[in-house]
Amino acid sequence: MTAISPTDQAAARATSIVAAEAQARARLRKRHALVIGLRLAILVVFLGLWELCADYNIIDPFFFSSPSGIWEQIWSWITEGTSQGPLWLQIYVTLEETFLGFVIGAVGGIVAGIILGRNKLLADVFSIYIKIANSVPRVVLGSVFIIALGLGMASKVALAVVMVFFVVFANAFQGVREADRAMIANAQILGASPMQITTSVIIPSAMSWILASLHVSFGFALVGAVVGEFLGAKQGMGLLISTAQGAFNANGVFAAMIILAVMALVVEFIITRFENYVVKWRPAPFNEQGA
């Protein structure tokens, strides 16, 4: 056996490593730029084709609008306000309903999910009723809420709550059920009381499930609020859409749709930030490692 001296060519190897690293970094940067560039290109091509088709009447802008028409509509809403008051007020009203519905529904869903997940008897008894309640098309409840709670905010919040509750409940329940047996036994033997097991084992391990449902259910809350406004309201983005619809104003419908999409994206971004903060203990998903 002979040992090979590592000092040979060590310096040369070090410089070649630095060069290789720089190359790899440059490649990564290039790829990132390529992805962004392609995304922008697709957007420009899509909007350009839409605009051109509308200009040359290949599609009828009366029904399908056009990017410039939508932009003019949004701009006039921003500068002159809508028929039912300033645009900001409409956004604010809808967001408020959505948030209230989202928070009430999510908290209710989490609490109910944990209680039923921890108690086998309650779970067996109530599971059938939850299945029944879940199979009712919930948007129809909007009419019931408008009759019962009136045209104000309460009916929209109620609809958003039922939209959110079942999704979050189902996930919280599943998350609690999937909590690792060994981990629970470990906590028990380390000296945890049933309450401590719930707070320091069950809830953290159900957290990924719950957070996943929060992503989806914010969209549902928004649908609940907008549909509620659709069915009857004095303010809000949903009313703006139904007014535009009544006036055959395609620009207005599309403009309101885009504003709603932006609202949803902004909130989605905030939830993702919150999620990353809460589950910072989780390993990066495989496809993001090294990216």
Partner: protein, 284 residues
């Protein structure tokens, strides 16, 4: 008797003395499976662990090795017979017990130090004291540089070290281990066995260590229980008179060790074969 010169003295199972740390006396455990059949997990099982003694339990897969541990924790109740820990009948999970699991039972959302401090915190120790203690135990298992790391950032061996610290911080008088090192590679396992013996000699707990690895059992134990293929009962008990302190990396080349392992293996082999063929028949 020839066996005695080989340092593996075969003992006759006797009724446990009153001062034993763990006494499982003629226990049978049956349970009804979810599809309504009666299963016997272990039958007529008698086992004694004296204070400060290191006992290993070996046996074929599915013979009820882990069941014996759950009887001691109180997570399972015997159908007949009785179980005593430190002289008292088992009613609830005792504060004297520590348990190291086969699977990773660290809490993945807690950093190493939060994991190790969990025991004292659950038991109501003030926060500062719990963390001081945790820091001390993390030092003892050599993880001081990794206090703030989360379990997924550690290797399998480091996670086991953290799990040992998490268990030992409660200074258990009874230490139960369920194939704790079976998922580790050979080198890491040897290192962890040394680590365990080091921690154990400082604490002098009474240990029940379940394993399917006979060499691990002989290397670690004062006493080895060989179980029959399920429903498990004690086939034979051996006293291992290898001197302590033992060094795991060397002991497996010690002629005395090899001699003992051979004797016990000849006993265990037929049970393993029985367990295997039965497993093939029933599909478990």
């Amino acid at each position: 008797m020839q066996l005695q010169t080989m340092a593996a003295e075969k003992l006759s199972p006797a009724a446990p003395p009153a001062d034993a740390a763990i006494a499982i006396d003629d226990v049978t455990l049956r349970f009804v499976t979810p599809d309504g059949h009666m299963m016997t997990a272990i039958r007529d099982f008698t086992m004694t662990v004296a204070r400060g003694e290191f006992a290993c339990v070996v046996g074929p897969t599915g013979c009820g090795k882990s069941t014996t541990l759950n009887l001691v924790t109180g997570l399972l109740r015997p159908t007949t017979g009785n179980v005593r820990v430190m002289g008292n009948p088992v009613t609830d999970i005792s504060r004297d017990i520590g348990f190291v699991f086969q699977a990773d039972a660290l809490f993945p959302w807690r950093s190493v130090i939060d994991n190790v401090a969990a025991g004292p915190l659950f038991r109501g120790t003030p926060k500062k004291e719990a963390y001081d203690k945790a820091r001390d135990w993390i030092g003892r298992v050599g993880l001081s540089r990794f206090e703030k790391h989360y379990p997924h950032q550690l290797s399998g061996g480091m996670r086991k070290r953290a799990a040992l610290a998490q268990t030992f911080i409660n200074q258990p008088k009874i230490l139960l281990m369920d194939e704790p090192f079976s998922a580790l590679d050979m080198q890491t396992r040897t290192a962890m066995q040394d680590e365990l013996l080091g921690l154990w000699s400082g604490l002098k707990s009474s240990v029940v260590f379940v394993t399917h690895d006979l060499e691990e059992a002989v290397a670690l134990a004062d006493k080895v229980y060989v179980l029959t293929a399920g429903p498990g009962t004690v086939k034979s008990v051996y006293r291992i008179d290898l001197p302590r302190p033992r060094v795991m990396a060397d002991i497996r080349y010690d002629p005395k060790f090899i001699e003992i392992a051979k004797v016990i293996w000849s006993d265990l082999r037929e049970e393993v074969q029985l367990g295997q063929s039965r497993g093939l028949q029933t599909g478990h």
